[in-house]
């Protein structure tokens, strides 16, 4: 890794790590007696380790070849491994908290292991740890290939990747200590939020600089999606996390917004985290890896345009469908519902575009589990966006809201779409990145596929059942006009589904463990083989960056 950096770059990296360690020390000193102090030590340790890694290789030989002749893949490799580690950690937390709902005493003594503290570790672990690392890593790969250019700097890709992971560590370790803003999917406290803004600005600059070096006249679709992911997540993150710290030496802060405005801001953020973190970035993955693996061009350029701008414009309106029948003014609820239904058009345009791309390659889908991951992801994307539009309709939401149906819907998207496309992309990417002939075990990929699929189906079906039963029980009346079931009755009825859900999650987690093992074994044991033409070339070169349009 270090052999790709020049002496000057190593010094810069050391300076940054040293500066970070000083900030950590300052936080540890100032926040003594508060969780912020613990975070200070974590920051200090994080940068300290980086400092010593760089320092130990400071005087090792420098790169001799012209680096512009190759792509910069070291950060991508680390990003993929980190994504898989977070996947295992995050999904394990998911299985654990799911089991706590079936068997509430399945925890350790002490406050840290309660459901309320562990749940955000699961959600942040899989969304930001697994999803975020996968997005950053694949975006590095794709932006270089589709631009036919190496990334401009050697330090900034590392800064973004490792800085983002520091954010994830601060977030997850904070939750078990009770450090949370309570804003769903934005629980991390103020200093972690500020740090993420710094990281994100560097990410945006890195992306734009790579694009500006491209040897292709056009910016490929996948890059539009990654760009929208970077930009809009920045807007959402900054606005939703506006807060006043109770003290500069403590973790606690209070949101700038309150009540109904805060609810609207939170769900504007919350649903667009789904849109711009969990959808557009992963569509970028889909638009690159699916045609590449299938050896087919994207079915329709125009559908790509339509669905891209449709998603960017419509999604931002729909957050208020989380607040039907609440104290949020009626007109906002109606707007949210209307746009949610309209959103189906661009969503299905994307899913359809992906599936139509596979026309002529269905034989490969049958034989190649990697491509099947991507195909199934597109199918689940179509299904869960349909379900989402349906659930956003006010009377439907009256039944589904507050129940497990919502949880099932989210997981149809998160497991069926986000995780499957990521695993498919990782299987496609790993041999290319490490210059290997193939994955270590294709049988393990098959096993992973069927474990992931069955886990998702079991999970989603059990949550549909429990959610709808729950919703119906809450509103069932006796003949005399009184409520028939107490709340506890509905809770008892959930028990078998909670067990089934934990089992489905366990299957999915097993698949993720197999994936991590397979990737590690590929790196360690599969013979080397350089892929053809995987280096920056001018656009006049014979090989297109992607299969050519017909």
């Amino acid at each position: 890794m270090m052999s790709n950096l020049t002496g000057a770059e190593r010094t810069t990296a050391m300076t940054i790590a040293g500066f970070g360690a000083l900030i950590g020390l300052a936080m540890a000193a100032a926040g003594h007696g508060d969780p912020m102090g613990v975070h200070g030590w974590i920051v200090l340790a994080f940068f300290g380790v980086l400092f010593f890694i760089v320092a130990s290789a400071l005087y090792s030989p420098e790169p001799v070849e012209d680096r512009a002749l190759s792509y910069y893949d070291d950060p991508t490799k680390v990003g993929i491994i980190l994504a898989l580690i977070w996947a295992v950690v995050g999904m394990f937390m998911g299985v654990w908290v799911a089991s706590q709902l079936a068997w509430p005493d399945l925890r350790f003594e002490g406050a840290w292991s309660g459901f309320g503290r562990l749940r955000p570790v699961h959600t942040s672990g899989v969304i930001f740890g697994f999803g975020g690392n996968a997005l950053i890593a694949t975006s590095y790969h794709i932006m270089q290939r589709t631009s036919r250019a190496r990334m401009p700097g050697q330090i900034s890709p590392w800064f973004v990747l490792l800085g983002f992971n520091l954010f994830c560590i601060l977030a997850a370790s904070g939750y078990v200590m009770g450090v949370t803003q309570s804003k769903e999917y934005a629980e991390a406290e103020w200093y972690a939020d500020i740090w993420l803004v710094v990281v994100w600005v560097v990410y945006f600059i890195l992306y734009m600089r790579t694009l500006s070096r491209r040897n292709e006249p056009h910016i490929y679709v996948a890059n539009w999606y990654y760009l929208s992911f970077i930009l809009v997540v920045a807007i959402l993150h900054i606005v939703n996390n506006l807060a006043v710290p109770a003290s500069w030496t403590g973790a606690k802060s209070y949101s700038l917004f309150s009540g109904v405005q805060d609810a609207m801001t939170q769900w504007w953020y919350g649903h667009n985290a789904v849109a711009f973190f969990l959808t557009t970035g992963f569509l970028g993955m889909l638009y690159y890896f699916l045609p590449k693996r299938a050896g087919r061009p994207i079915y329709s350029y125009r559908l790509s345009i339509l669905s891209f701008w449709g998603i960017v414009f419509f999604y931002i309106w729909v957050g208020s469908h989380h607040l039907h029948y609440t104290a949020l003014p009626h007109w906002v609820q109606t707007l949210g519902m209307t746009f949610s239904v309209m959103l189906l058009v661009p969503s299905w345009a994307s899913a359809g575009n992906a599936l139509m791309t596979l026309n002529g390659a269905w034989g490969k889908v049958r034989d190649d589990a990697t491509l099947r991951f991507m195909m199934m992801a597109a199918v689940f994307y179509g299904l869960s966006t349909f379900e989402g539009s349906f659930m956003a309709i006010r009377p439907v939401n009256g039944l589904s809201h507050y129940t497990d149906w919502t949880v099932g819907h989210v997981h149809a998207g998160a497991m069926g779409w986000v995780a499957l496309i990521t695993f498919g992309s990782i299987y496609a990417l790993t041999p290319v990145l490490w210059r290997r002939e193939t994955m270590y075990s294709w049988k393990a990929v098959e096993w992973h596929f069927w474990l992931a699929l069955s886990g998702t189906v079991i999970y989603v079906f059990s949550m549909w059942n429990s959610g709808i039963i729950q919703g119906l029980m809450w509103r069932t009346y006796t003949e005399t006009g009184t409520l028939k079931f107490s709340f506890v009755d509905s809770l008892v009825a959930m028990h078998p589904y909670y067990i089934a859900r934990a089992f489905g999650g366990l299957l999915f987690l097993t698949g993720a463990c197999i994936c991590l093992w397979n990737v590690v074994m590929t790196i360690l044991h599969v013979p080397q083989k350089a892929p053809e033409l995987d280096y920056p070339t001018s656009s006049e070169a014979m090989e297109p960056a992607l299969p050519a349009a017909e």
Binding site: L231, Q266, W268, L306, W317, Y477
Partner: protein, 258 residues
């Protein structure tokens, strides 16, 4: 058939595809396009909520949280209670009959952030205040399954053993004032004493709390322990005020939608 439907728009699509073909050569044009397209919806939906006056009902006697209740609220957030309990009764008949009058915007006016929640693994808590005795709440928090055998709620026995930290409360109230909660200088200065006073009836500090926050303020040994003020005191004080900050919802007697 699909083509006939789309035919009137064919020219538009064609024009759009051609302009896009040029635009996508410029990264800054894409950036600007994305920012504009993604800003409109949020602006139209969120900005008016701050400017339209009847978004939040005007209630002059709306009470603010005492320092003890606010501390309880902070613990409620710390433990992630919002992950399973909503605080938002929707305007549906069964919810109103199960939980009480539907929630009004004003009731979370001083909630930074709001805790409306998104999931009811447990019941809604928007009006749980005064529904159960302090003693019931304490026992339930210590071990929910002692009182409700079917419950899946975690145990919070450690709240009863943990002394309440009071030293950072003035800073917290000051931060809340900065974001719009009308705490006075006097309230901020006396926050620590007020926290202890509200959990120690018939002391001077208790009287001072009533002076500052109103005679209706509940001053009790919330956790049943007389020797010290614990986190349990704060949480129970908070739970017992839920739904009682204003009586507008009860007095305006709202009817369910259906």
């Amino acid at each position: 058939m699909f083509k006939t439907i789309l035919k009137p728009f064919a020219k538009l699509f064609d024009f759009q595809a051609r302009t896009h073909y040029r635009m996508e050569r410029h990264s800054m044009a894409l950036t600007a396009g994305i920012i504009v397209a993604a800003s409109i919806g949020g602006f139209v939906e969120i900005a008016p909520l701050f400017s339209i006056d009847d978004t939040v009902e005007d209630v002059p006697d709306m009470r603010i949280y005492t320092p003890l209740e606010q501390a309880g609220r902070d613990i409620y957030i710390r433990e992630g209670c919002y992950a399973c309990h909503s605080q938002m009764i929707r305007s549906l008949r069964d919810e109103v009959e199960r939980y009480g009058p539907y929630s009004l915007a004003v009731e979370s006016k001083y909630d930074h952030p709001m805790l409306w929640g998104s999931k009811r693994t447990g019941p809604d808590l928007a009006r749980v205040g005064d529904k159960f005795s302090d003693d019931w709440q304490v026992r339930h928090l210590v071990n929910p399954r002692n009182l409700v055998p079917e419950s899946v709620m975690p145990q919070y026995a450690f709240l009863l053993e943990t002394e309440l930290k009071t030293s950072d409360m003035p800073g917290r109230l000051a931060a809340l004032r900065a974001v719009g909660v009308p705490y006075t200088d006097e309230m901020i200065e006396n926050a620590e004493n007020d926290m202890k006073g509200q959990a120690r009836p018939e002391t001077e500090a208790a009287d001072a709390v009533m002076d500052r926050y109103g005679d209706d303020t509940a001053v009790r040994f919330f956790d049943g322990r007389r020797d010290r003020v614990t986190e349990m005191d704060a949480v129970v004080a908070y739970l017992q005020i839920l739904g009682n900050l204003t009586d507008l919802a009860q007095t305006s007697q709202p009817q369910a939608e259906e």
